[in-house]
Symmetry: C2
Subunit: 376 residues, 2 copies
């Protein structure tokens, strides 16, 4: 399903076939937390900004409106009116970052909903059932995401449990995919590599999970507090131990700089809330660094955020207008910034793919990293 089209040293240019269409990699997935992009952006808008994959959150959708309802209504694709690939996370990360009164046991995690405090249990089987109900293209394995900088004594048993959970996820998804009532019985499962910032544990875990021959592998538990250098170091150590002919996914990353560095180390898939979150705060991306549109210097600036940008926002609206909207707390200001930022990330990935196609990734990366320092 994954064709490795080109490589430039460790950087990979791939093509991943799914039941919901082809994904050209490297790719940045756009985060539609509760089946909508924050900032009043719809699936229809995503079609206009080169989005290839939407990412939806299992934990959030389980709590509201509930995955069983979504299944009854025909699945997430039909619900949010999006026919391209959707990746769902496992819920694990949110259980560990959002939920209250959390207790980790061998069978799974007991916790309270951050919305209404109701008691919930989620283990590997429950996560797979929820993701199957949603009918996503790619499901993620249920794992524990240990705290940033956890020590060996914490991480070793945690990773071992994550491996046992992965086995249960595989059994459960195979069972679910064989049922007639399953919405997407071609749903794929990606395994997740853990191990904190300890290379030996990461490598050992990668060797274990690659044996399951899953359709893809992700690297989780990074971008949670460690330095960029530690993250890049882990990528360098662990990626050679994951299959080259399968997509690799760096979860929750990151800045344009992070993406360029991670592609260079062999990553195919990315996701991050940063472009949408920054957009809602009037921080917008350009090839010359991030701009804060609240800054007074944009007050009379009738140029678009970026003259070289082809996004729907830059095709029509000026910095002066968007700044006014943001200052007047008009939702439209947020929407225009989020659309620009998502397009910026999607287009960055297009440029990366073109550079890889032309064997020019290294020089493209160098040029782009340099341009980000020309703060305007």
């Amino acid at each position: 399903m994954y064709d490795l089209l080109k490589t430039e040293e460790r950087a990979k240019r791939g093509r991943f076939q799914t039941v919901h269409g082809t994904i050209e990699t490297p790719v940045f997935m756009n985060v539609a937390t509760v089946a909508a992009i924050k900032g009043a952006v719809s699936a229809q808008d995503l079609q206009q900004i080169e989005t290839q994959v939407a990412l939806a959150n299992t934990y959030h959708l389980h709590l509201r409106p509930n995955d069983k309802l979504i299944k009854e209504l025909g699945g997430l694709h039909k619900f949010m009116v999006w026919d391209k690939p959707i990746l769902t996370d496992s819920g694990g990360f949110q259980v560990f970052s959002l939920a209250h009164r959390r207790k980790i046991k061998e069978e799974g995690v007991y916790f309270s909903s951050h919305i209404d405090g109701s008691k919930i249990f989620m283990g590997p089987e429950e996560s797979m059932q929820i993701q199957s109900n949603l009918g996503s293209t790619i499901a993620m394995a249920f794992d524990e995401c240990p705290p940033a900088m956890a020590d060996k004594e914490y991480i070793i048993p945690s990773v071992e449990r994550t491996t046992r959970w992965l086995k249960r996820c595989i059994e459960e998804i195979n069972k679910l995919n064989s049922l007639e009532t399953t919405i997407n019985n071609k749903q794929m499962l990606f395994g997740i590599n853990q191990g904190g910032v300890i290379p030996a544990i990461r490598i050992e875990h990668a060797k274990v999970i690659r044996e399951f021959d899953l359709p893809g592998y992700s690297i989780g538990g990074l971008a949670v507090g460690e330095t960029h250098e530690e993250m890049y170091n882990i990528l360098e150590e662990v990626i050679p131990h994951l299959p080259k002919n399968k997509p690799t996914y760096l979860m929750g990353v990151g800045t344009p700089e992070n993406i360029l560095e991670a592609v260079d180390r062999g990553i195919d898939f990315f996701d991050c809330v940063l472009p949408a979150r920054n957009g809602r705060h009037g921080h917008v991306y350009t090839n010359n660094g991030k701009l804060n549109l609240f800054n007074k210097k944009h007050e009379k600036d009738m140029d678009p955020i970026s003259k070289e940008c082809c996004c729907p926002t830059c095709q029509r609206y000026s910095k002066a207008y968007i700044r006014h909207l943001l200052k007047a707390k008009e939702m439209l200001g947020m929407r225009l910034c989020v659309i620009h930022n998502l397009y910026y990330f999607n287009n960055l990935m297009t440029e990366i793919r073109v550079a890889l196609d032309n064997n020019e990734f290294k020089s493209y990366k160098k040029k782009r990293l340099k341009s980000y320092k020309n703060l305007n």
Copy 2:
């Protein structure tokens, strides 16, 4: 500039030529308070929902970002990227409803900004200057909007002052339109009829202001607390005393029922915040009455808000999805509802115009008023 194409008893079907294009009447103007529709709706969105005229608020834009800035940037059309007609109100209504520590004098009104408390003066000349700076298609005269149900003793001197203010508005707009630096020197001025719910005062005032031979006349000071019957009665009394060959504008009105009744009494122009405000609260219009999308009965309803609606929301999204977005407090839910509601009002006006074209307005009105009672 105004062609009266057809009449059906007092109902008028008109065509109004402006420097920014033709307005087919009766028309519902879409309220873009601070140069944006509340609910993350852009001028570009308005183009897709049959909007003919955008209405912007002088008071709000004077306070933020300031009309002088907008003039410096080329005017409101360029600022918000909308090339069709824009009507600006005079600021008077907001001065009387939003501003603090208000003092009315012969020269104008002293008040404090509701944003930062700064002291501001606005009189007829200032209102015209601000509207000229904005460069709107149609400017409104600066008037006093007396409190609902004010008595004769209050209203008579108030209306007399409004007439004196109108003369000053006319002098000022003529002066401004003759300046080379004026953005739109074809800016038109509409006069405003006042007089509370006292027919004799309303009629007397209408006779006075029609003598100024302005391009259009509006009826202000209604929909501020009086009953619908009182409002309809005033329309019946006063409209025969306004020129039939000029557009008439009923300010701040209203519900679909109000619009049908007012068209029947000779009104051409309408504006109201209701469809956008209701949309933001999940209340949506249909031919069978308003729906509250928060209602649990819509939880599993995969039908659009209205199967007969051609708006961008109904073409794609279900009640179940929009309800989920609203409950999850996703801005997208509000946006989808506002777009639907504005389209509903715009399309209602299209249907009214078609009915008038076919001499079927009376039966159309009857059918529509009946259908609104079929609450679903």
